[in-house]
Subunit: 126 residues, 2 copies
């Protein structure tokens, strides 16, 4: 984790199905006091959930944010959903940080990935 | 569609399960020539697929992009996957626009949404 900020940004890869995705789409309010600290804490906490596989996040400035969490099975998702600190954060989110959001929980049936062959550590020849 | 740009940005809502999500996470290359035209064309084309329910998109500047497409059933997704123009765009994406990507296709088992009660069209009282 110590070298996370130096790692190249790559999307979480494809796992062997079945696994679960939790797709959380949101538009935030203007009051984001405390948000980033809580988000960082949640990102640390979820890593302790057995069966947590990874997370993707993207945010258009001033627009929607999408978080996708990947979990090995429904039990892992249930454990995360019932985490007391996570539940408190969700409640604060509804009270303060989110204008609107949607959560879709789904079982992955197929997946595939693509990565360009070139080594990102090598300088480009062109 | 003519008033799309005036509509407030809200995430696609929760549908009655089961339905399908296609989660496409990507990091793009520096060569984005032609990308935005093709993306706009795909956004129009997918609306003609019977069973297409909606789409969410977020992009962190210089970072990952996440597209989530919502479909009523697997047949709708198959129809979109087999669309000739879409397949040509995917091929060009691998050749030119994407550094890496992952696609997760999943069947939604539960979903829920939240929206702040206040009317976004009304001026704030405070």
């Amino acid at each position: 984790m110590s070298d996370r900020s130096e790692a190249p940004v790559v999307p979480v890869g494809a796992f062997e199905p079945p696994y679960y995705v939790a797709v959380f789409t949101a538009v935030r309010t203007q009051d984001q006091h405390g948000y980033s600290e809580t988000a960082a804490r949640m990102e640390d906490l979820v890593k302790d959930v057995p069966g947590f596989l990874g997370m993707d996040y993207a945010q258009t400035p001033g627009g929607p944010a999408i978080t996708v969490g990947y979990f090995r099975d429904a039990d892992a998702l249930t454990q995360w959903r019932c985490n007391a600190e996570h539940r408190a954060a969700q409640m604060r989110g509804r009270a303060q940080w989110y204008q609107s959001y949607t959560l879709h929980v789904a079982k992955v049936e197929r997946s595939n990935g693509f990565a360009r062959a070139e080594d990102p550590q090598s300088p480009r020849a062109d």
